[in-house]
């Protein structure tokens, strides 16, 4: 029933504003994105650009008291009605069974006083009616599938007896317990070391291929994203600044921010592979300045204060996403045609 290429989840003009004591934080400010069947969509951006809030809003996990959300989140197998602000019971039925999420820090995402097996069995039983033996079998099978040695024995262990990488595997097993159609992975490898990071990513890739589920992979690490994802959404200050197929994004970025992120990658890519950005070498380039406050949002392009290509108009006027080229490649920069050569050209980097 899942045909690759069909939209599975569509987010339209999503805004999540959070009321805080300092003012209203416009954490997510009008983003649209689509996840297709059997697709891995990457969301990349600096810390605090709204990636996590996007995921949690999709899952309906934001605290209702402080959140003001608008827009549409359509999960197509559930009908064309938006699930944003849907009744709690409706969302609860979707969570776990259809939409699952894994978190950044595996050390704190499991209950410390309950055994791994107890928590895994709970997830297995949550959305299915299984006998005790069947549930146990499924639970050990899941642990084995995610690469936990001696699963039957380790079911009795507690979270503190596992390493971070192993815990993330357990969390993946728990998330997959009721075969979700869409897995939201919010920085799943950020708190792990590089070797383990690679193992977890390969595991996620493998599982995605086996089950045909879709995945949203969130990371601040463009290297991780380019390695795994089919398509990439680049976020900056609560907005989507560029989206397109992975190959298009890394070979022909259309937004200065994407270019800057690519420049910030080490020339020798991670895990000894050549860097995605055409194997260039040279000093690392960081992006000067820091992301803007999302409380007092200035007029104009949000990246303008840090952009090497900004002109006066950028500071007072902003554009929507502009489609560019083929294959749903789009960028939120009105100068993208003018500066195209500079963005693609390696030597353009030395001018700033």
């Amino acid at each position: 029933m899942s045909t690759p290429g069909q939209p599975l989840l569509t987010v339209r003009d999503l805004r999540s504003y959070l009321a805080t004591s300092q003012g209203v934080v416009r954490a997510v400010d009008g983003i649209s994105l689509t996840v297709h069947e059997a697709e891995i969509l990457g969301i990349v951006g600096e810390s605090g650009c709204g990636k996590t809030v996007t995921c949690r809003t999709i899952m309906g996990l934001m605290p209702a008291a402080s959140l003001h959300a608008s827009g549409e989140i359509v999960y197509h197998p559930h009908g064309e009605r938006s699930i944003l602000n849907a009744p709690a019971s409706e969302l609860r039925a979707l969570r776990g069974a259809h939409l699952a999420m894994i978190f950044q820090d595996p050390m704190t995402a499991l209950n410390p006083v309950r055994s791994i097996g107890d928590q895994l069995l709970e997830a297995v039983n949550a959305h299915a009616d299984l006998s005790r033996a069947q549930a146990r079998e499924r639970a050990t099978g899941l642990l084995e599938r995610v690469g936990i040695p001696a699963p039957a024995r380790r079911m009795r262990d507690y979270p503190f007896q596992f390493s971070g990488g192993m815990l993330q595997r357990v969390l993946i097993a728990i998330a997959l317990a009721s075969s979700p159609r869409l897995l939201l992975a919010d920085e799943p490898t950020t708190s792990l070391d590089v070797i383990i990071q690679d193992q977890i990513l390969s595991l996620l890739l493998e599982l995605q291929e086996d089950t045909g589920m879709s995945m949203i992979l969130v990371s601040h690490d463009l290297a991780v994203i380019t390695e795994v994802c089919d398509r990439i959404v680049v976020m900056y200050a609560g907005q989507v600044v560029e989206e397109g197929a992975t190959a298009d994004i890394i070979t022909a970025p259309r937004h200065p921010y994407t270019r800057a992120l690519l420049d910030a990658l080490p020339a020798e890519g991670q895990h000894g592979k050549p860097a995605p950005a055409s194997g260039r070498r040279g000093p690392l380039r960081s992006i000067g300045g820091s992301p803007p406050s999302l409380i007092d949002v200035a007029e104009g392009c949000r990246f303008a204060p840090r952009c090497r290509h900004a002109v006066a108009k950028c500071r007072s006027w902003d554009t929507e996403l502009i489609a560019a080229g083929a294959g749903r490649h789009a960028a939120r920069c009105w100068r993208q045609e003018e500066i195209r050569g500079e963005l693609a050209d390696e030597t353009g980097r030395s001018s700033a």
């Binding site: 899952m59 996990l61 008291a65 969302l91 609860r92 039925a93 979707l94 969570r95 776990g96 069974a97 699952a100 999420m101 978190f103 820090d105 704190t108 995402a109 499991l110 209950n111 410390p112 006083v113 309950r114 709970e122 997830a123 949550a126 959305h127 507690y158 979270p159 503190f160 969390l171 728990i174 998330a175 317990a177």
Partner: protein
């Protein structure tokens, strides 16, 4: 002498082994508190339950020929009171009521207060505000005065004493539990549980309660001691158990008239109260150490 900077592996092993041994000793020492408390409480419970076997006198049987016999009198190990009733028998049978208060009153308020606090903290909003203002209301009254008022209104009896404690004592548990729940609610594992589509009651009782229960359990040990003292106080004031039924507070109250001539009448039930109270306190301390030590 360079061992400070470069220890050989065997030395390191030695040092680590000493440390492990030390830690094991301190764990044992901490457990000793708990074990001592449990043994003492076990003795009290056994003595109280085995009262019919241990003593041959009825606690209310009057012996007019031997009033105010001192402890050690043949046949009356702890002596007799002003009516010649056997003091040992009265202490043992009286303990039944005091222990019933310690357990019965405490368990009900522990469970009730915990559930109320858990729900208030997790659900939040108006329900939370309402329940916590109710708690504030109870805290605003002097506790003992409130209990005395309730018992006086309902009429003095053991059951009404229970009722008064149930009505007033849950508030402390509710407040502790609510505070714990509000903190736990923000933990990542609770968020993860919600992301799996679990129902609120499941998240409350299976995810939040196991990590937060230790605080209320520890408090219940202190509260049990308090309830024994309270039962004794109410008995002392004539609002609890009615004569001739023995109860430690009542016995202390009756004995005070004879304190200068027959010290044992008030002292022995007083010691029973202290002994039981210390037992609960030791259990509470031992549990606290154990739960704090188990840092997982």
């Amino acid at each position: 002498m360079s061992t400070m900077w470069a220890a050989s592996p065997s030395e390191l092993l030695m040092r680590a082994a000493t440390k492990t041994a030390g830690r094991r000793r301190s764990v044992t020492r901490r457990r000793m508190t708990l074990i001592a408390g449990l043994v003492m409480l076990g003795l009290v419970i056994a003595a109280v339950l085995l009262a019919p076997v241990l003593v041959s006198y009825s606690p209310t049987a009057i012996d007019p020929l031997h009033p105010l016999a001192p402890p050690g009198t043949p046949g009356h190990l702890l002596g007799t009171d002003q009516f010649g009733r056997d003091l040992l028998s009265r202490v043992l049978y009286g303990g039944r009521i005091d222990l019933a208060i310690a357990f019965g009153a405490t368990i009900v308020t522990l469970v009730g207060g915990t559930i109320i606090g858990l729900v208030a903290g997790y659900v939040g909003g108006k329900l939370d505000s309402f329940l916590m203002r109710l708690v504030d209301l109870f805290f605003a009254f002097p506790f003992l005065v409130l209990i005395i008022a309730i018992v006086a209104m309902l009429g003095p009896s053991v059951f009404n004493m229970f009722l008064a404690i149930w009505i007033t004592s849950w508030v402390a548990y509710a407040r502790i539990m609510r505070a714990q729940t509000v903190v736990a609610k923000k933990q990542q594992y609770v968020l993860a549980a919600r992301a799996l589509g679990y129902r609120p009651w499941r998240i409350m009782f299976r995810h939040i309660l196991p990590t937060t229960a230790s605080a209320v359990i520890l408090f219940s040990m202190v509260d049990a001691v308090g309830n024994i003292i309270l039962a004794a106080s109410l008995g002392f004031l004539g609002l609890g158990t009615q004569p001739p039924t023995p109860e430690w507070g009542v016995m202390i109250s009756d004995g005070q008239n004879y304190i200068l001539t027959s010290w044992w009448l008030a002292t022995i039930p007083g010691l029973a109260v202290v002994f039981t109270g210390v037992a609960f306190s030791l259990i509470g301390d031992g549990l606290a150490d154990l739960l704090r030590a188990g840092d997982r």
